[in-house]
């Protein structure tokens, strides 16, 4: 109890002079404040214990190497150390993992570029043009259903209402349209792939 009346500055001085019990008193006096501060930021008991430990390791090293100067007060100084360690912890956990190119690992094995190359884009455009030309060859009723379904994204219900035929007829026309497209493609040996 008598220790409670000894100011921090004197305890620090005693500790620097070799009195190990002074450190025990300082820790006992401030442990709940410092640990509570760390826990309020980290919300994890184990990590808070680690940071508390690292904080005091720094305190011990600084005091033992006589690098501490009593400019401010002991507790704010320790709090500042723990604050810096908390910031370091968040930096470490939130940092993006860095990948380096090695013989076994290439960054391009996990990254890909989905955009078409100039050549592929030209082929794609050509396929579109060819397909439109083939569709023009279809009978008018089939062409109408196919264009409405594929290019205007209409449902068969909407198509049937618009063309004045039943849904089944619209479905049938679509089926024939696709069959006829395949026939034309096969007949003329057209390649519609990218």
């Amino acid at each position: 109890m008598a220790d409670l009346h000894i100011p921090d500055a004197l305890l620090v001085k005693n500790y620097v002079q070799g009195n190990e019990n002074a450190l025990a008193t300082l820790i006992k006096r401030h442990e709940s404040k410092i640990y509570g501060f760390i826990y309020s930021k980290i919300s994890d008991r184990d990590i808070s214990n680690d940071i508390f430990q690292d904080t005091f390791i720094k305190v011990i090293k600084t005091l033992k190497s006589n690098s501490y100067n009593e400019e401010g007060k002991f507790l704010p100084w320790v709090m500042r150390i723990s604050h810096n360690l908390i910031v370091d912890h968040f930096r470490k956990t939130k940092k993006m993992p860095m990948y380096r190119e090695t013989e076994e690992f290439s960054i391009f094995s996990v990254m890909s570029d989905d955009t078409l190359t100039i050549e592929n884009k030209m082929i794609f455009d050509q396929v579109e043009v060819d397909l439109k030309k083939i569709i023009e060859e279809l009978p008018e009723d089939q062409k109408e259903v196919l264009v409405m379904r594929m290019y205007q994204d209409m449902s068969f219900k909407e198509i049937s209402e618009l063309t004045g035929v039943s849904i089944n007829t619209a479905l049938g026309r679509m089926r024939y349209a696709l069959m006829n497209l395949r026939k034309i493609i096969d007949k003329h040996q057209i390649i519609l792939t990218n």
Partner: protein, 47 residues
Amino acid sequence: MAKIYSKKALASKILKPKKEVVSFLLNYSQALTVVKIDDKNFEIIAN
């Protein structure tokens, strides 16, 4: 005996580090000696 229905407020809970952590720090402090030679600090840990 009267039953206490009220719960302890969370704020009143005193948080403390593990005893093992404090014990480690005190042992570490006892084992550590820092020797300053010129501008360099040498840390010696006694077993």
